[in-house]
């Protein structure tokens, strides 16, 4: 389908008005996991522990791999280093500090020291509030100034669903379909799961 039309579709899916960066933000592709054991360059070990825990809460290991299995934490660190501006990075890191401070004030412990249910509840609380706030502000993506928790979610989704495990074990992926069937029962569309690469988004 046409590239520009696709642009619209994608931007709309993200619930925003149309702008270039909205599409960049979710242009699918292609995440790659960072090489195992590589040293984070933006996040400290303590920060990395928080981000890893959050990413795994958002996309946990089940009968298929989770966020940590596919290297999402390293991916987030790499994206912060090379893709995000200094301003975005600063906002992310201060949001991270506020998040950890909330754990301290609510439970008297750092986030990583909380019980798993407490951790999940805190992520849930920040997540739901941030969504309400983004809807309220209704800003175009370029001026979104996305919060720490939703930046983490965005990068976790991107990193996970463009990873090999995310694309092939949670979603389904065929490199060379060879033919097109416009309208088939879901169960006859491969294994019936969502396609990892959608028509219309890829160019």
């Amino acid at each position: 389908m046409d590239r520009r039309e696709a642009l619209k579709r994608v931007a709309w899916l993200m619930g925003g008005t149309v702008c270039a960066s909205a599409v960049l933000a979710i242009e699918k592709g292609y995440s790659v996991t960072t090489s195992a054991g590589s040293k984070p360059s933006i996040l400290s070990a303590a920060q990395m522990a928080i981000v890893s825990t959050m990413a795994e809460i958002m996309i946990p290991r089940t009968d298929t791999p989770g966020a940590i299995d596919v290297g999402v934490p390293g991916f987030i660190d790499l994206m912060l280093k090379d893709v995000y501006t200094q301003k975005d990075r600063d906002r992310y890191l201060s949001g991270l500090a506020e998040f950890d401070a909330a754990a301290q004030s609510e439970h008297g412990k750092k986030f990583v020291a909380l019980e798993p249910t407490q951790q999940a509840a805190l992520v849930r609380k920040f997540h739901d509030a941030a969504i309400v706030e983004e809807h309220r502000l209704n800003r175009p993506h370029a001026r979104l100034q996305r919060s720490f928790v939703l930046m983490t979610k965005e990068l976790t989704l991107l990193g996970f669903f463009t990873s090999q495990a995310g694309a092939t074990q949670v979603l389904q992926y065929v490199a060379v379909p060879g033919s097109y069937h416009a309208c088939v029962p879901v169960r006859q569309a491969g294994n019936g799961r969502t396609w990892a690469v959608q028509p219309g988004i890829q160019f």
Partner: protein
């Protein structure tokens, strides 16, 4: 002939240059084909076979990438890790924006024929008559019937999948089997036809849905929809997969990459250009090449640059610029306006394969008895699909639930965006800024062009009509959109050396020859006299093939 002399020179290897090369060499002309960028042979598509997880950064451009391609990034997609290598480094190739102007360039053999959208629509009689009918700009010196056999010729060679619809505003062509609309698109088609008496058709796209006997090197579409990376199957038309191999096969083509043509040589004898001056992009070496006929196919503004930069006593204001129209009347298609909606139902239906195409709603405004408060009209391109993981960004689901939701195809949604005609305004123009230089020491182009009242009025219809049709179809959460754009973002730039009947008001004649210098042809988007609303590449190809065959005849008659 000397070692630097040929029968013909073609400048550029994109959609138009590839066609000029093919036609001229197939008629036996020893042809030098020059491109300013690097060599790309068919198959040299480095990202074509990469899986999603093999591209870095989730496909997104880095800050360093964006520093080199800030204008290309305005598109929102071409600077991805999968395709950024097909677009120029803007630090090396600057230009001036007196108004925002989105100039999206690809400097390499094949040019933007590798990255084009493949949508292929004929113009109609209505489009060629428009300027005369409305009393604006100048009349096209040709009509549909002049071009119809060349559309046939081009479509038969490149392969265009599509359906015959018998629409006067969008003539049928020589089609390969059409791709299919999905169930939601078919449902929308019923509304568009039943309640609005408008057509909705599958896009006409330059993809092989059946083999072409004359191009055995090309395979049929594999429905990967990764076209912008280059197709290793040769399934969509590009110069690299199609016209350049045809030219190569004749043995008459000499192809030189890294050859920046910066000037035509006007020697003052017999109103002819004797050749071109070339700067080697790698060594800086300057060379002159000579030929009996020269085809400028360097892209609209690439050709405009060469003409503007070719100053002589005869042409002090730019080559062939007796009319003063050189660089004027810039056009594009305005877009980023339309509507989208969510579609309930069809939950038990999905698709398999990735169709590199969508639906098309041909122009209906100011057609027949319809009369609007603006001139001309627009067409829509769109598609329907099922939501996937990006739609979960604002979803409450987290954890196991998020994984489960992502694995299940989401709701159907549909979106359509307009492509609107921009009128040719004399004051929308490009000039040479000789005070600034690019990496090669050449002056740079300066753009001063904008949308006007006619386009603004049309955009209201483009948003409202789309929303109205989606609402009438019973879809929900209908949202219209209308973004701020720069001219150029359509990547359908046209004008700057328009065709016309009168040398006093146009640069080129009915055969794409420079009025005042008949052995120079300009057959890319620069030649366009109006923009219509259809994607223009097919028309460039038809005009180029027609002009090349004219040049061959004129050479035989010793008229050039």
């Amino acid at each position: 002939m000397g070692s630097n002399s040929y029968d013909a020179i073609v400048v550029g290897t994109g959609i138009s240059g590839g066609w000029a090369a093919k036609e001229l060499t197939e008629h036996g002309l020893k042809t030098l084909v020059l491109d300013r960028g690097r060599m790309v042979k068919h198959g040299d598509y480095p990202t074509a076979l990469l899986n999603p997880w093999e591209l870095p950064y989730g496909g997104r451009p880095t800050l360093e990438d964006l520093r080199h391609q800030p204008v290309a990034a305005r598109t929102g997609y071409v600077t991805s890790q999968a395709s950024k290598h097909w677009f120029v480094d803007e630090l090396d190739n600057p230009y001036v924006e007196k108004q925002r102007f989105d100039w999206i360039r690809g400097y390499h053999v094949g040019g933007r024929s590798i990255t084009w959208g493949r949508q292929s629509y004929r113009w109609s009689q209505m489009d060629f008559e428009g300027n005369a009918r409305d009393g604006i700009a100048v009349d096209w010196p040709i009509r549909y019937n002049d071009l119809a056999p060349w559309y046939d010729h081009v479509e038969s060679f490149i392969g265009v999948s599509g359906s015959a619809e018998n629409l006067s505003q969008l003539p049928d062509g020589k089609f390969l089997p059409p791709m299919e609309l999905n169930c939601v698109e078919k449902e929308f088609k019923r509304t568009v036809a039943g309640k609005f008496e408008r057509a909705l058709i599958i896009g006409r796209a330059a993809h092989l849905t059946a083999p072409l006997a004359h191009s055995p090197q090309r395979g049929t579409c594999q429905f990967r929809n990764l076209c912008i990376r280059g197709c290793p199957f040769g399934a969509y038309f590009s110069s690299n997969s199609s016209t350049l191999p045809a030219a190569e096969k004749t043995g008459n083509m000499t192809l030189r990459p890294n050859a920046i043509v910066y000037e035509l040589i006007y020697d003052g004898k017999g109103n002819r250009a004797s050749g071109v001056r070339v700067l080697d992009a790698e060594t800086g070496e300057q060379t002159e090449y000579f030929a009996r006929v020269i085809f400028l196919c360097a892209s609209t503004f690439g050709s405009a640059f060469i003409l503007l930069n070719s100053i002589s006593n005869r042409f002090p204001a730019g080559f062939g610029n007796d009319s003063g129209e050189l660089g004027c009347n810039l056009m594009d298609h305005h877009l980023e306006v339309g509507a989208s909606a969510i579609v309930d139902g069809f939950e038990d239906h999905y698709y398999s394969g990735r169709r590199p195409n969508g639906f098309y709603i041909p122009r209906y405004r100011n057609v027949g008895k319809d009369k609007r408060d603006y001139l001309r009209g627009f067409g829509y391109q769109g598609s329907a699909g099922r939501a996937d993981w990006p739609s979960l960004m604002h979803d409450a689901a987290l954890g196991v639930e998020l994984k489960q939701k992502a694995a299940k195809p989401g709701p159907w949604h549909i979106s359509l965006g307009g492509f609107g005609e921009i009128l040719p305004y004399h004051e929308n123009r490009v000039t040479l800024d000789r005070t600034r230089k690019d990496k090669f020491g050449l002056p740079v182009l300066a753009f001063d062009a904008g949308l006007k009242q006619n386009e603004r009025l049309m955009r209201k219809d483009m948003a409202n009509d789309a929303a109205e049709m989606l609402t009438a179809a019973g879809f929900r959460d209908v949202r219209s959109f209308d973004s701020v754009i720069g001219v150029g973002l359509g990547i359908h730039e046209m004008g700057a050396a328009r065709m016309g009947r009168d040398p006093k008001t146009s640069v080129l004649n009915a055969w794409n020859q420079v009025h005042a210098c008949k052995n120079v042809y300009v057959t890319d988007g620069a030649c366009m006299t109006s923009s219509a609303c259809q994607n223009p590449s097919l028309t460039y190809m038809a005009l180029t093939a027609r002009a090349a065959n004219h040049a061959v005849e004129e050479l035989k008659q010793m008229n050039l």
